[in-house]
Assembly symmetry: C2
Homo-oligomer: 417 residues x 2
């Protein structure tokens, strides 16, 4: 039986992985529990969904990521419950006791109010979502290729993306390029004047988290790429035919929901630790009030007053994970808990081939320069050398040949396709 | 309404695709009907199953393959029935009339006698099979990593491959390398002395279709790679625990069945056109007797007396497809049907990293030289330039670093994992 403090980390996303890596030099035993066997580079998920990258280019086995972290072990399992009093995590692979617990389970797609079925709305949060979306979209065009009903054909060739945050903007730009530049070569029998990509946003601007100038630049760039923008249009419902808005509807066989995500904290932590949006109200050391041995980081943690530190983005999760290791180190040395300070390194979003927006401190960039910067930053962060080289090759291929290498329907959606 | 003869090709495997391409210069309208939206380079499927290649490296959209064939169109659909009298194919995308029909639907895995459930036996014939096998194998090792029962752990770390034909030999060599050289880095908690790969063959030799000397060379090479060979051992049954043999059993959580394939002709063509093994007895022009307008090529066609021309391998299908175009051309020109003559270009099988066997006419090669030849030939045949470069990069990576790039469990098998 080990005498070293046991740290259990639930989730191997950006936050959990950063925590495990930062704990490498401490005298603790780390166990990372993750539902899947891979770490997902979620910011590029939309590129799998739009047929540009293969899953293995953005997903990396957790065990490989932590191969050089000798005090960490990995358990592929689902967490059933957390017992805060007994300090124990119950998983499908058995119970794990802990001295420190790090909850980093992230968020999931939160669909529209009256829950439509999965085949009506597609999320873009998990690897399975991206593969399902890719297969669904391609199957719609296959069906359109031999459909004689003109109205049905238009609907099959139309994509509605709900939510003009970074994911919605990036996916609608990428899918519009796919539909305008790549699919016409594969489907000579389809009149692509029938196709459309509509980006629907309840707010008055695209990319609400960015400077207004950049939101407008993104909107211009999207329109140039053939995306129709509907701003100030809350969605009233989704049906088999498409999206219902206040003053009408958008007919589309493919509806992608990027308008909301929900913290997964509620399934693991007691309700009294959560705010009204389901996020954990953490202390300045990122702990649960009353439970200093339990940390919550990334998308599930909230600190409303902190501004950018409360955003559901990878840098917040990574810095949170690194902070947890600093707190545990301080406690092992008998020092007081350090406070979490988020260092905002800026944020960016890409709008397809050769166009992006970026804000880094006071600097605002848009267009091609921002896109090159985006490419460099994302390559830098992509886990694993092989992923990096192959992803770069795919992007170069796409840039020069306007082609998409990955257009496979491996699992046809059962009914929806 | 087109006045040109309509050629319907069912199946976009090696045979169907070769026929469509060879018909490019004729004055006919070609429709290729395929269940999936891709052409699968089946000889490398075992590399997806053993985590070396990504699906998109061996699967290519049918529409891309035929992009430059201006008289061909593609319909993604399943064929429900063929009406030979009405000369009509009924598909899930509607009915297709034809003047010439080419049936090239290939073969499927034919499991052991008393049909075990899918979770007991995994095939290696479709892309889904390979992904399911990869996920199942990796999930078994994940489970073994936290299982305390020693007997269960040994079973989870053991793979039984049934059938020592090319697929069985190639997969067992590849999976043994994966288990011996790659997984130990990922699973430090597993004692790999518990793991095993067993190749079970009813006949007395591996690679029965090859020269006996090459079969023995393959067996030696497999043993060096840590594969246990059980020759002359017909399988009596498969259970959740493994494979039952005459004199005992092999405990394995992963059982891969490569010992038999079955022609798919029976689902489309009348029973009186089939031999007792379900293959179509074709004429020397590769037509159905009594139906010269219907061709059967590839795995579904038989001509027992022809020897190598009856083998279920890609070259037979490709040459069959090309022959169909020659026959149709002759008929358009009022000439008699040419006879099919198979040109045996040799056959090869690889046994993992740096070892293969090949026989080309009177030449017999084994070891590293044969492997380099195998690499060159397969790269040459791989469809699409990108697949070629990326597959080569993956192979080089594997050869120099002894690593497997693709170890993702994307869809965990529901119960079997």
């Amino acid at each position: 039986m080990s005498q070293r403090p046991r740290v259990v980390i639930v989730g191997a996303g950006f936050g959990g992985l950063a925590a495990a890596k930062a704990l490498r030099h401490l005298d603790v035993d780390v166990t990372v529990v993750e539902r899947t066997n891979y770490h997902l580079f979620q910011p590029l998920l939309y590129q799998v969904a739009s047929g540009l990258l293969d899953p293995s280019e953005i997903a990396h086995p957790v065990r490989s990521c932590l191969r050089r972290v000798s005090n960490a072990r990995v358990v592929m399992a689902e967490v059933r419950a957390v017992d805060l009093e007994a300090r124990r995590v119950d998983t499908t692979a058995g119970a794990l006791g802990y001295e420190h617990l790090v909850v980093a389970t992230g968020s999931v797609t939160a669909g529209p109010g009256d829950p439509p079925s999965e085949r009506q709305v597609l999320g873009l949060k998990h690897l399975e979502d991206a593969l399902r979306l890719r297969a669904h979209l391609l199957a719609c065009f296959e069906e359109a290729a031999h459909t004689t009903d003109a109205k049905a054909r238009r609907r099959l060739c139309s994509v509605a993306v709900v939510g003009a945050g970074p994911t919605g903007v990036e996916y609608s730009g990428a899918v519009s390029e796919l539909i305008r530049h790549v699919l016409p070569k594969d489907f000579p029998e389809i009149d692509f004047a029938d196709s459309s990509v509509v980006l629907i946003e309840a707010g008055e601007e695209a990319l609400a988290g960015f400077a207004p100038r950049l939101g407008r630049a993104a909107a211009r760039s999207l329109r140039r790429k053939g995306v129709r923008l509907l701003l100030g249009q809350p969605v009233h419902g989704v049906s088999d035919c498409g999206v219902r808005l206040r003053g009408g509807s958008v007919e589309a066989a493919t509806v992608v929901w990027t308008a909301g995500v929900r913290s997964t904290a509620a399934s693991l932590l007691p309700a009294d630790t959560l705010d009204r949006r389901g996020r954990v109200q953490v202390t300045s050391a990122l702990c649960l009030p009353g439970h200093p041995e339990v940390f919550a980081i990334g998308d599930i943690a909230a600190a409303e007053e902190r501004g950018p530190a409360a955003a559901m983005v990878a840098p917040v999760a990574i810095q949170g994970g690194q902070h947890v290791a600093r707190v545990i180190e301080a406690r092992l040395q008998g020092r007081p808990d350090p406070e979490f300070r988020y260092r905002d390194k800026g944020t960016m979003a890409t709008i397809g081939r050769g166009s992006a927006v970026a804000q880094i401190g006071p600097v605002r960039l848009s267009g091609f320069v921002a896109w090159v910067l985006w490419l460099l930053v994302h390559l830098l962060y992509l886990v694993g050398f092989r992923s990096r080289t192959i992803a770069l090759a795919s992007w170069a291929w796409n840039f020069f040949f306007y082609d998409r290498p990955v257009r496979l329907i491996i699992d046809r959606p059962g009914d929806g396709g």
